[in-house]
Symmetry: D2
Subunit: 343 residues, 4 copies
C-alpha cells in the first residue's frame, strides 16, 4: 500500500528524530525556558530576517490559531477569514469558544481578495448601527490555503496593505508554510515582512508536532506566555519543540522538505493529467485534487490510500493526494503504474 492521505501520517523526519534521541537523557528546564528552544528561536529569527521578532513554540495548529486570535482581538471584535478557512470550518468552534465571531469573506479556491477585505471594512463602518455588529479586528489567511492554492507576492502585498490601511493585523496560518514557500515567489522573509503575526507549521512539515508563532508587530500579544498556558498549549517538556525546530532550521531542512514534497506532488499531478485526469484546483503545492470516476477510485484504493474530498458522488468524486517528507519517488512511480492500469 502507498499512502497519500495527508502530510501528518508518518512520524518525523529522521534528522528530527535523531536530535530527540541523542538528547533524551539530558535534563533541561521546562516550558520552553531551555537552551534548545532559545537556539531554535534564534534560527527562526534569522531565517525570517526579523532579529527582534518574538517567537513561541506551540504544539498544534488549532490551539495556535485560537491562542493567537484570542490574544489579539478585543472583546467586541471578530476575525475576518475566508468562508473555507480552517478556523471557520474544521476547528470545532475553537475561535467561538474564546468568545469571538469568525466574519466570513468569499473564498476563491481558499483565498480571500484584498478587495473584499477593503469592502467589508468600508461597508461595516458606513453602517450606522455598526456598534451592534461584530467589528473586524484582524484578518486570518492561510498560506498555502486549505485547497493547496497560494497567494502571489503581489496579492500578499495588497492584502497586507488592505489590513494596515484599516489598522488591523494580518495573521497568516502557515500550517503548511514549507510547501507554500517551495511553490511560489514568496519567501519566508516576505511572510515575516507582510504579516503581523504568523506561524511556521512543523507538524505537517517534518516534525512530530509543533508550530512556531512569529510575532513581528511588537505591539501585539505582549503577554503571550500566560495566554499560551491558559490555552493549554504550553508544553511541559518544551525542549522537544526547541529540538525539532532547531533541526528543521539547520542547513535549511525545513525548506528542503517543502521543496521535495512539492516536486513529488507536481510529478504526481503530471501523471494524473497525462492520464486524462486534470487537477480540480489550481494548486502548486503538496496537496493535489482531482475528480475521478468512482470506478477508478475503487481500483486505486486497492493499492493506494488517499482521501475522498467530500461525499462520494454518483459516478465521480473529488479526491485529494498529498505528499510529505516521507513520500518517496518510488511511491510516485508505483502510483503511476496504478493509474495507467486504470485507463
Amino acid at each position: 500500500m502507498i499512502y497519500f492521505d495527508s502530510d501528518y501520517m508518518a512520524g518525523a523526519h529522521p534528522k528530527v528524530m535523531e536530535r530527540l534521541l541523542e538528547t533524551n537523557y539530558e535534563q533541561t528546564t521546562g516550558y520552553g525556558t531551555d537552551a534548545y528552544t532559545a537556539k531554535a528561536v534564534t534560527l527562526i529569527r534569522e531565517a525570517c530576517g526579523t532579529p527582534d521578532a518574538r517567537v513561541h513554540l506551540l504544539v498544534g495548529g488549532t490551539q495556535t490559531n485560537a491562542t493567537v486570535i484570542d490574544g489579539i482581538l478585543a472583546r467586541h471584535e471578530g476575525v475576518l477569514a475566508a468562508e473555507s478557512g480552517h478556523i471557520n470550518v474544521h476547528e470545532s468552534g475553537a475561535i467561538e469558544a474564546t468568545g469571538h465571531k469568525v466574519l466570513t469573506l468569499p473564498s476563491y479556491q481558499g483565498k480571500v481578495s484584498a478587495c473584499d477585505v477593503r469592502n467589508f471594512i468600508k461597508d461595516f463602518y458606513s453602517d450606522e448601527t455598526y456598534e451592534h455588529m461584530v467589528a473586524p479586528g484582524m484578518l486570518y489567511i492561510s498560506f498555502p490555503t486549505e485547497y493547496g492554492t497560494i497567494y502571489s507576492l503581489e496579492e500578499l502585498e495588497d492584502i497586507s496593505a488592505a489590513c494596515h490601511e484599516a489598522d488591523i493585523p494580518l495573521f497568516i496560518d502557515g500550517a503548511r508554510l514549507g510547501f507554500g514557500l517551495a511553490a511560489s515567489d514568496v519567501t519566508l522573509k516576505d511572510i515575516a515582512r507582510l504579516a503581523d503575526v504568523f506561524y511556521i507549521g512543523g507538524t505537517k512539515v517534518g516534525a512530530l508536532f509543533g508550530e512556531a508563532v512569529v510575532i513581528t508587530d511588537s505591539r501585539l500579544l505582549k503577554h503571550f506566555t500566560p495566554l499560551v498556558k491558559q490555552h493549554g498549549a504550553l508544553l511541559a517538556k518544551g525542549r522537544l519543540l526547541g529540538l525539532q525546530f532547531e533541526a528543521l532550521f539547520t542547513d535549511g531542512l525545513y525548506f528542503k522538505i517543502g521543496e521535495d514534497a512539492v516536486r513529488k506532488a507536481l510529478r504526481l499531478r503530471e501523471i494524473f493529467e497525462k492520464n486524462g485526469f486534470p487537477a480540480a484546483m489550481d494548486s502548486p503545492t503538496n496537496q493535489q485534487f482531482f475528480v475521478l470516476p468512482n470506478s477508478v477510485i475503487d481500483r486505486l484504493k486497492e493499492n493506494a490510500s488517499f482521501e475522498l474530498w467530500g461525499p462520494r458522488g454518483e459516478t465521480e468524486t473529488t479526491v485529494r493526494f498529498v505528499t510529505g517528507w516521507s513520500t518517496t519517488d518510488e511511491d510516485i512511480e508505483t502510483l503511476k503504474c496504478l493509474i495507467e492500469s486504470c485507463r
Copy 2:
C-alpha cells in the same frame, strides 16, 4: 551536576523512545483513529478493570483539566478544588477562561476533606440565595497532590461517597498518578472505581508528553472528541500518544517507573533526615520537601539542581527534590555525599 528539579526535565523512558523510533516511517490515520491508540486504550481499560470506560489521549495536563471540567460542568456550575489545587493556582486561569469558577476548599497539605465537601454542599443549598451563587458541579482532586501527599484508600472512598451523595462527579487529576499508586494502598482499579473521570499522567511518568483520560461514568462527556478538538488538544499525529501509552502499559512499565522513582525518593528523604533535615511535607511519593539553611542550599547548588519552593527566606528556605524515570541510584548516592559534606 545532578538534577532533582522536576519529573519533566528529561526526555522519555527508553522503551517509549524505542517505539516511536521503530514506527517512525509507518503511515497511520490521524487524530487518534489509528491502531496504536486503539491498542493503548485496550491496555489502559484492562489495567483499570473497566472494559467499558472511554479513554482519550491528550497532550498536556492543563489542557486536560480544562477540557474535562468544561465538558462536565453546566454553565451555572463551578468546580470544587483545594485552594492549593493546580487548577486554582498554576494554570493561568484556564478553568475560568472556559467560563467556570473554581470554588475553593481548605487545603490540608494539598488534600481536601470529605467533611469539607459535604459541608460546602449543605451550606450552599441551605442558603436562600443560592441561585445567585455558583453551584458546585463537580469535585477536582489531585492524586498525589501538588505537595506529594496522597489520600488513603479510606479517604478516597469517603470523598467519592461525598460526591455521589450530592450527585456530582469526582475528577482525579493524575498528572503524577504512577508515583501515587507506588506509594499507597490505592490501586489503579480503586481510582477507576471511585472516580467518575480521571487521567493517567504520562508527561511526568516516562512519556515525552501525554495524559490518558479515563471516563468511567458513561453519562459524562458523551461528545468528548469535538471538545478535545475545540480545546486544541487533539494531536494530529495522534498515534504518538497511542505508542507512548502502549509502551507504558506493556509489562507494567508505568507502574515500575512509579515504584522506582518513589524508592529513590524515599532513599533521598532518608538521607536528608539522617543528616538532620526532616521532611517538610508528609509525602511518600517522588516529590520531597525540606526546609534547608540557606548556607546548605548554596553549597548543594554548586553540584545539584533543585527548586526553591517559594521565595528565599532570610536564613532558611523550603526546597523541593523530585525523582523521575531518569534518576539513577548513582544520582542519589552523589547527593548523599554532597549532603554529608554540608553538615
Copy 3:
C-alpha cells in the same frame, strides 16, 4: 413630525404605565419572586395553553437570546439560524461571546426552510470529519422575522418536525410576536406547541421593556435562574416585569396592540402602493419596506421620521416604516397626505 422609525420609540401602553404607577409604593420581594410576577406567569401559561411551562421574565431581547442559547447548547454545539437572523447580525457577537458559533442557513426574506434545516443536519453527520466541526445543537428562528415576514402554520409545523426528527430544540425569537400573531393563522398556542422554548416580546409590543421566556420542553434549561443572573438579566425590581406582563395579558391587551398596529401598517402599505410604491418585502406585519426615489425620501423626511434600510442608493433607497402601540390613525392619514403630495 410623525414617527415610523421603530416600535420602541415611545414609552409603554397607558395601561402598563397605569399599573406601574398605582403599585409604585408597594414593597415586594425582588428578582421575580413577587406575586405580580407569579400572576403574570399564570396569565401567560393560560394564554399559551401550557399549564406546566416554565416562564421567566427578562429585560431585553439580546440578553434573552444569549441566555437561552447559552443554556441549551452543549459546549461543542452551535445554533442554526438564518444568515439574516438577529443573533447573527445585530447583537454584537453576544452568542459567540458565550462560546458558541452561529451556523447560518440561507435566508428567504428572513425565513429559513425546513428543507435547508434537514439538509444541513444530514450533510453534517454524513461528513466523516464532523467531530472537527461545530454540531448543530438547536434552531433559532424569529417570528415575525427581521423583515416583517411570517411563517405559515404549515411552514412552522414542518420546521418544528425537522428539528424534532434531529432531536434538536426549536427556539423562536418573538421580539415582535404580537404583530406576527395578528397577521397570520398561527396562534400563541401553536407557537407554544411547536417551539421548545420561545419568548413573547414586550419591549416592542407595549411594554417599557421585558421579554417573557416560555419553556415548554421540560428537559431544557432546568437551572435557568442562575443562568439569567449570570447573564446580568435578572432584574432586581423584578415585579416591574411582572406588572407589565400582567397588564399585557389582561383582557387580551397584548393581542389588541398587535392587531391595531398591524391594521395601521396594512393601511400604510395600501397608501404607498396606491401611490405607486409597491412593498419591497412580503410583510403582513407592522414593519413595511419600500424602495423610494431619493427625492421622495427627502420630501417625506421634512415631516416624517423613518429609517433608511441600508446605505442610501444613487437614485433610490429601501426604507422601513414601522407602526406600534402609539401610532394613531391620524399619523397614518397625515402620512397619506404627505405621500400624495410627493407624486
Copy 4:
C-alpha cells in the same frame, strides 16, 4: 406591615415616575442616542466634576460589573476583590463566565486594605512562575460595601495610589453610592478623581433600575457601546435610563435620597442600640446589621419584614434592616414601638 428588607423593594421615587409618565408618548431614538440620555450624561459629568468623562447608562449591577470588568481585563488577567465582594459571591459567576478569575483579598467588614493590594502585586511578580498564574489586572471595590461599611477618604486615596503604582485601574461598584456619599467625607468628585471607572447606582437609590458607568481614565473601555450590546445590557428604550438619571441629578435628588435614607437608618440603629441590641457591623449607611435573639426576631416578624443574614442560629441570628427612598419616619417610629415591646 413595615418593610426593611432591602432598598429595591418599592418602585421609583415619585419624581422619577413623574418624568417617565410625562414623556411617555414622546418618540425618541433608541439605545441611548436620545436627548434625555445626553442631558443625563451632562448632569452626571457636572456632578462628578469630570467634563470629559464618558458616561454610559446600563440596566443592572451584575451586568454592569461583568461588562466593565470584561472590557478592561486582558485575557490573562483577573480582577482583585475582597473575598466578600459582590462579584465573588452573589453574581452567579458572571465574571468567570466572561473568562476571568476573581482574585480574592481578605475582607475587613467588606473592605480591602491598600496594604493587601500592594502585597498581592509584589508577591505575584516576585514568584518566578507568575506567568502560570492569573495576573492582577484591576481592583474592584464597592462603596459602600456589601456590609454597609465605607472607606474613609484617606483609605480611598491610599487604595487608589496602590493601584496606580502598579498601573492597574481602580473600579468602584457604587450600587449604593448615594448612601455611601451621605455617610462619609468622600464626595462624588473624590470618587471620580480616585477611581478610573465607577458606577452610580440607580436601582437602589430611587430609580426603577439603572446604573451610570463613569469612565474617567480615557484609555479604558474605548469601545464600550458594542460591549454593552454584547452583554445584553443596551436597553432598547434607552431614554428610560436617561430620564431617570436626569431626574436623579436634577436639584440634587440623588444625594437627598441618600441622606434621607441614611438619617433614617441611623435613627433605626439608635433605637436598636437603646434597646440593648448593638450594631453588628460598623455601618454608617442605610444597611444596619444586628444580632437578635430568635424570640425577638419572631415577635418583630409579625409586624415587620426584614432579612435574616445567613442561616438562623440556635438562639440568636444576624439580621439586616435597610432603609430606602420609600422608608418613612412613621415606619421608623412604628419599628421603635415594636422593638420596645420586645424587651
